[in-house]
């Protein structure tokens, strides 16, 4: 991380006092009380913030950001702190801006199929607010009972249903955002698309670097009439992958399409048995949803494909309880792997699905080389891989080895045409790998966008970008001296 700025540290007293004026009962500044904020879900990194402030109104957020700008202090926004990439990791010289008190559902508009909420509302609270009327909010990260919708927007979070229903970015209609310096902007609303630039689109997934989100309007969908699951076992991961490819190639987009390798199957069966085939080399869960007529047609087609692709076991859920049981193992996968642990690091690369077999073979080789174990769960439909690296933080050197192994896996993903992160964000974790995917010009173009929002680099600095350039420096252009002749091209 960038070294804490002494100029900020020495102003701490004054900063605390200014914040207390703005939010009299919402400033946390004793070391003991600040402890709970020292990390997010990437617990490898810990840091006490300069001070924590917990505003309740947009005006307070605006004033805080104005003061921060005036005093040249950094700000780290935080939702529920479930980021797996260190996105909400505090900085020693930054105000931690906690959005947890923004916890109200502001408006439910069934006729326009949208809900307006404050950013601290949890993902699953949105669904809970509308489910009695048969609606739900589609993106469903596994952390949904804890993570906030503001954090979801900042990370563009996904879930097991996003192949069919999209990520956060495909389900947002409006945002209210406060810029560094205090400007309050309202973007979008209850209508679709923006005229001029799609700023909602670019704020989504911006990891708290562009603005602080103070309100979100999400789209809600009616619950599908039926959902049924199919649980498939295959001899190898390759066979499972082939089946997944064939399902999609045959024109079927399932509501959920997940895969687990042998190590994960063993882990969940040891943790809380749920009837997964223990002899299988890979397990595929297919969920088909829609009207009953449609689901029945598709179940038969998928079963047919699976048999042709060599499934060694095949179970179709006959009722809701059974469908949920199919999912329970997958949903328990992280804690289950955690139980063999003692610690695990959750990686998050995406690869072109055709490279699955190659990537897994290489991963096994790397595991042997590092002497660490790895279990894999995938969002197979979209090629998003979650290798869970097992290590023991009490063993000297093990954490570093795990981190290095993780970095190697992500580089492998990029090497085969994939990306560093599918849904967990870059944060601090993958920051230094950004140059594996982007060259200097690509990164500088992204930084220039940052300059349009936050020219002083005060909002969540040290995340996402490996090196920070001053905006003035980025604005410079290399212009060839004198007039370049226009190239001689074909014309018409």
């Amino acid at each position: 991380m960038p070294l804490p700025e002494a100029a900020i540290l020495t102003k701490r007293q004054e900063i605390v006092a200014r914040l207390q004026q703005i939010v009299p009962n919402g400033v946390v500044h004793t070391e003991r009380e600040m402890r709970v904020y020292e990390c997010d879900a990437l617990t490898l990194y810990r840091q006490l913030p300069l001070v924590v402030v917990l505003p309740e109104t947009v005006e307070q957020v605006s004033q805080i950001l104005r003061v921060a700008q005036d005093m040249n202090v950094k700000v780290v926004p935080r939702g529920s702190g479930t980021s797996l990439s260190g996105g909400s990791l505090p900085l020693a010289d930054a105000i931690l801006l906690g959005m947890s008190k923004f916890n109200r559902v502001l408006e439910i508009d069934y006729e326009n199929r949208c809900v307006r909420v404050q950013p601290g509302v949890t993902n699953s609270a949105i669904t809970r607010a509308v489910e009695d009327e048969g609606f739900y909010y589609a993106p469903d990260p596994s952390s949904q009972i804890a993570c906030s919708i503001g954090g979801n927007v900042a990370e563009n979070s996904g879930g097991v249903h996003c192949l069919k229903y999209g990520l956060t970015t495909n389900n947002i209609l409006g945002l209210e955002v406060v810029l560094m310096g205090g400007e309050i902007l309202r973007l979008g609303g209850k209508h679709l698309d923006s005229d001029l630039y799609d700023l909602i689109g670019v704020l989504t997934g911006s990891e708290g670097l562009l603005g602080v989100i103070t309100e979100v309007t999400v789209r809600i969908l009616q619950k599908p009439a039926t959902a049924r699951g199919i649980l498939l076992g295959f001899p190898t991961v390759q066979d499972g992958g082939d089946c997944v490819a064939e399902i999609i190639a045959r024109g079927i987009i399932p509501g959920g399409l997940e895969m687990m390798d042998k190590a994960s199957i063993d882990a969940v069966e040891a943790f809380q048995p749920c009837g997964y085939p223990r002899d299988a080399g890979s397990l595929v869960i297919v969920e088909l949803d829609g009207t009953e007529a449609e689901v029945n047609v598709l179940i038969d087609r998928v079963a047919d494909i699976a048999v042709k692709k060599g499934a060694t076991s095949l179970k179709v859920s006959e009722n809701e309880a059974e469908r949920l049981r199919f999912w329970s193992g997958r949903k328990n996968a992280f804690p289950a792997v955690g139980a063999i642990g003692p610690d695990y690091l959750c990686m998050d690369g995406t690869i072109p699905r055709s490279q699955l077999s190659y990537v897994l073979t290489r991963m096994d080789q790397l595991a042997a080389q590092y002497g660490l174990r790895v279990a894999n769960v995938f969002h197979a439909g979209d090629g998003n891989l979650h290798p869970l690296i097992l290590y023991d933080s009490s063993k000297p050197g093990d954490s570093e080895k795990a981190e290095q192994f993780g970095a190697d896996i992500l580089c492998l993903c990029v090497e085969v045409g994939g990306v560093l992160t599918g849904e967990h964000g870059v944060g601090v974790e993958k920051r230094d790998l950004m140059d594996r995917m982007f060259n200097e010009i690509d990164l500088q173009q992204q930084e220039r966008l940052k300059c349009a929002f936050d020219p002083a680099h005060r909002l969540n600095p040290g995340k996402v970008f490996p090196t920070l350039h001053r905006c003035a420096e980025l604005g410079r252009m290399h212009v060839h001296n004198g007039q370049l002749p226009f190239p001689d091209l074909p014309r018409f």
């Binding site: 209850k190 490819a245 995406t350 090629g383 091209l489």
Partner: protein
């Protein structure tokens, strides 16, 4: 009119519209594009960017000294049906991509329109149907917008040349990717004002096997719209929701109609259409409605007409496209009527969320009363068809509040600091002030050119 000339057989200089009586440069590859922009930067030459350039009637008239057409950067470079991904050079004809996808039972689910009727294009232009780059640059979307999204939701990544004269990329070829800012969202709908896309990577989807539509007539316009809104909340996977008022074209409507599109495997479509009709017949409000069906071929034809906005584009007049909350659709149209705007034809798509208006031409396209009404109900209004001289005066895109406009301008300058690309496309008022190159710190760093 002859086909567009290919670079190998340069044709005599053609002027696609009277404003553009200038050479059209035809770069053959990305390096050529880069060379053009580098020269433009050095000479401060504003550029107009086009795909086939046949739709220069879109957006504010561009102020440019050179015109750059991407049409020679053509060809699909990657297509993996099982991974739902396609990559193509920006100048690839949309039709070519659609034909390739169709061979594999796939399509671009956002249904880009054929604006031939909107802009009165010739047959030859229509055959090509625009370029994929132009389609992405306007964030095209069709009747399935609610369910399937717009071009923005399908652009996975791109490569482009910025107004700084630099090649950069963003995104990737995989479905799930949060590595760095999502610049694809920004480029989709940027109308060539940020960067020149040279290659785009898109998510493609299976084309539904069958489709049919349910037409409900004998309703008032308000009832028809209420039916559509209710339909968006039903678990029957209805994919498009349109309402044609009384007297609309397409030979369907005697009175106002609501029309719902059902797509999927044959059996499922059959079952669902019955369930839908049964459901609505039971609702007191719609009990008097008359229910008819459109079979496969007629249904497809109907929805492509809606996609192309045929009910308003087939007649002459100025055309507006309004995006609003579905519940505000009828009140908004009523307010525009009440403000004295001479509406000739209108219709609704997206369950009321999209309104197309054709109005009697006037020198200001009645922008003020229309936009005042839209501001009251929420949303935005885009002037889709009007003469160049009118679009030069009247903002084509919905004016933004001051702080937002300032941010949009800063975003523009982050990519195109000299405002060389499609200058004035977003209106003269939008154009950021470029500080005097000789005095301020935006001064280009002079570098000796030795080669």
């Amino acid at each position: 009119m002859a086909d567009l000339p290919s670079p190998e057989q340069p044709a005599p200089t053609a002027a696609p519209n009277e404003a553009a009586a200038m050479d059209i440069l035809l770069p053959r590859d990305e390096k050529d594009v880069l060379a053009v922009v580098e020269a433009a930067v050095a000479n401060r030459t504003p550029l107009e960017i086009m795909g086939f350039g046949s739709k220069t009637g879109l957006g504010g008239p561009v102020t440019a000294e050179k015109c750059l057409s991407l049409s020679a950067l053509s060809g699909v470079t990657l297509y993996e049906p099982a991974e739902l991904v396609l990559r193509a050079h920006a100048g690839t004809p949309l039709r070519e991509i659609q034909a390739l996808l169709a061979q594999n039972g796939q399509e671009l689910a956002f249904e880009p329109m054929d604006h031939g009727d909107l802009y009165g294009l010739t047959k030859n232009d229509r055959i090509k149907g625009g370029t994929i780059g132009g389609t992405v640059a306007v964030n095209a979307s069709g009747p399935r917008r609610i369910r399937a999204g717009a071009a923005r939701d399908h652009l996975l990544g791109f490569q482009a040349v910025s107004g700084r004269g630099e090649i950069f990329k963003s995104g990737g070829r995989v479905m799930k990717n949060v590595t760095g800012y999502d610049l694809s969202k920004l480029l989709a709908g940027s109308h060539g004002t940020l960067a020149i896309m040279t290659e785009v990577t898109l998510k493609v989807l299976p084309r539904p096997e069958n489709e049919e539509s349910v037409v409900v007539s004998n309703l008032t316009e308000d009832q028809a719209l209420a039916l559509l809104r209710m339909a968006t909340g039903l678990p029957y996977d209805i994919s498009s929701f349109s309402c044609l008022p009384e007297g609309s074209l397409l030979g369907l409507a005697r009175g106002p109609i609501a029309i719902l599109r059902i797509e999927g495997p044959h059996l499922s479509v059959q079952k669902r259409k019955e369930e839908i009709i049964t459901f609505f017949r039971k609702q007191a409000m719609f009990a008097k409605g008359q229910y008819d069906l459109l079979q496969e071929a007629v249904s497809r034809e109907f929805w492509s007409a809606v996609r192309d906005a045929l009910p308003v584009t087939a007649i002459s007049g100025q055309v507006w496209r309004l995006s609003t909350a579905p519940t505000e659709a009828a009140p908004l149209v009523t307010a525009i009527h009440a403000a004295g705007v001479p509406i000739l034809r209108w219709f609704y798509d997206w369950a009321g969320g999209l309104i197309w208006l054709c109005i009697e031409p006037s020198t200001d396209a009645h922008a003020e009363p229309i936009r005042a009404a839209v501001d009251r109900f929420g949303g935005h209004a885009t002037l889709m068809r009007a003469d160049d001289c009118i679009r030069a005066q009247t903002p084509v895109f919905h004016p933004q509040a001051t702080a937002l406009a300032a941010l949009s301008q800063r975003v523009k300058l982050a990519f195109d600091p000299l405002s060389l690309l499609n200058r004035d496309k977003f209106g003269k008022n939008f154009e950021p002030r470029i500080s005097d190159p000789k005095s301020s710190d935006s001064k280009p760093e002079q570098q000796t050119h030795n080669s």
